[in-house]
């Protein structure tokens, strides 16, 4: 039986990042106290999703491990709900993918959990009403703060340092400026065509697991404030993205049939 994280819920959209979070924790013997699944009422694909996330719900294939010393593989054939049911986590569906929507705020305010693992759509910045609910939102940010705050920091980090990192932070009103829980560094991806939808969720979920294991051991999240000074990055231009992948990052391979959506 999995260990229930009594004060920690999950909130997110259906995509590989959310799959990775739920599946990795389940495989490691943990389950969230409760889950809120955010869905677009028109079933539109939102930032961070692929078509199968909103149509049939699942992909047919299971990929290969991403990291050399980590056998974890995202099972894209499983929906979030299947995983939640398998581990016995209750959940609700909300017809919105905007964390600032009144429906989402209402769903959160009805729940007793004080900490929520956040896996929302790309670029969904939390505003004051949701941040004022008295809940804390645990976010796995794909970059080492404070040097790499903001968007697409994977790619900037590859150009600047040739490596990638994930920072576990609690969200605040400043972009990626909330209290820091943990930073983990990872080897760069070997197959760049899988960076957005496979490498990214795998290393984020590995960091989440580290945080949850520590929480399970100590009964609390150990946090420290970030330095204010830092750098905020914005969505990378596709030319720089290509240079990061093909020339400036580590020596990596490009899959001849990339599976990254535009």
């Amino acid at each position: 039986m999995n260990t229930r994280l009594n004060d920690v819920g999950f909130i997110g959209i259906q995509n590989n990042r959310s799959r990775a979070y739920l599946q990795r924790l389940a495989q490691s013997g943990f389950r969230f106290s409760y889950a809120i699944i955010l869905t677009d009422p028109q079933r539109k694909v939102v930032a961070g999703q692929q078509q199968h996330d909103v149509s049939t719900g699942n992909a047919s294939c299971i990929g290969s491990p991403i990291l050399p010393d980590d056998p974890f593989v995202i099972d894209e054939s499983r929906s979030l709900i299947e995983t939640l049911k398998a581990v016995g986590t209750n959940y609700s569906l909300v017809d919105s993918v905007d964390m600032n929507d009144d429906l989402v705020i209402e769903a959160l305010s009805l729940r007793p959990e004080g900490v929520w693992c956040f896996s929302g759509s790309g670029g969904n910045i939390l505003r004051r009403p949701v941040l004022s609910l008295g809940k804390r939102f645990l976010h796995m940010h794909p970059g080492a703060v404070p040097e790499f705050r903001g968007s697409t920091t994977f790619y900037y980090s590859l150009i600047e340092s040739g490596s990638c990192a994930v920072s576990a932070i609690f969200l605040s009103s400043g972009v990626d400026m909330g209290d820091l829980v943990l930073i983990r560094h990872f080897p760069p991806p070997t197959d760049m065509s899988r960076i957005d939808y496979h490498y990214d969720p795998v290393i984020r979920s590995a960091t989440l697991l580290s945080v949850i294991e520590d929480y399970d051991r100590t009964g609390a999240f150990s946090v420290k404030p970030q330095q204010n000074e830092g750098k905020t990055w914005y969505t990378i231009h596709p030319l720089l993205k290509h240079l990061a992948v093909l020339e400036l990052g580590p020596n990596i391979q490009l899959d001849p049939s990339p599976d990254v959506n535009g």
Binding site: Y156, I159, T232, Y234, I236, H237, H242, E247, P258, V260
Partner: protein
């Protein structure tokens, strides 16, 4: 000699293309980007051809925007000449002298910047021109107001990928969306030159996005100064990308 050198480099970096007609993979420089900007989110990775396509399309745009600068207004002439540290006419054979930036222009520029930072509001066209004048000063200038205004413009443009005709309330963009290509050309030139001789990724990221807008609208850029600023912005982009690609080897 930024333009000639960088364009030559961009050309030599290209791989041989098949003789058959191919569709470009670089599609971010097309469409009505003044009203419907690219989001640049989750962009597809295409492989080396993408870089070649970018280089060839940018080179073609620079060719289209070359020439016609003999009728530049004196202010633009002075700014561009100073920034490029060479007479503009070298490219088209007419020759310009290095027109001075007058003390009145510098004083106006400093006043605009100070007011913008003090009040948190500014007309964007004036603000960009003021910063271009500061960038064109021959002596080294390190204005705190310039840094603050540049950072505000970068943040605002990155968030919306469009320019606004005014900035208000601590230099945040107002409601007035600008479709003025003269503003876009000057802003692109500003972000082309503002990082000095260094490659600053944050600045280059803005420049690439602004230049996508310019290239998408190049057929309607007819004013001599607009064409010259556009050419400068594209040349600086090529120079910066060249420096980035060869970082550590030169």
């Amino acid at each position: 000699m930024i333009d000639a050198h960088s364009r030559h480099h961009a050309a030599t970096k290209q791989t041989p293309k098949a003789l058959t007609m191919t569709v470009s993979t670089y599609t971010y420089d097309a469409g009505d980007l003044l009203h419907s900007p690219n989001s640049y989110r989750y962009t597809q990775i295409h492989g080396p051809q993408f870089i070649d396509d970018w280089a060839s399309q940018r080179a073609a745009a620079m060719d289209e925007l070359s020439g016609g600068w003999t009728e530049l207004d004196l202010q633009s002439q002075g700014i561009i000449s100073r920034i490029t540290k060479k007479p503009l006419g070298e490219s088209n054979g007419t020759g310009y002298s290095d027109t001075s930036i007058s003390s009145e222009m510098i004083a106006w520029s400093e006043r605009i910047l100070t007011e913008a930072v003090d009040t948190g509001a500014a007309d964007t066209y004036d603000l960009v021109n003021a910063m271009l004048i500061q960038e064109s000063r021959l002596e080294a200038v390190d204005l705190a107001e310039q840094k603050l205004a540049l950072e505000a413009m970068r943040r605002n443009f990155e968030c919306s990928r469009i320019l606004h005709s005014r900035y208000e309330r601590r230099l945040r963009h107002g409601l007035s969306i600008s479709t003025d290509l003269a503003l876009y050309t000057r802003t692109a030139a500003l972000f082309g030159v503002c990082s000095g001789g260094e490659v600053d990724l944050l600045t280059l990221n803005v420049l690439l996005k602004l230049n996508d807008v310019l290239v998408a609208n190049r057929s309607t850029i007819s004013d001599p100064a607009d064409r010259a600023y556009s050419h400068l912005a594209l040349a600086m982009e090529a120079s910066r990308v060249h420096m980035l690609r060869n970082r550590g080897t030169e």
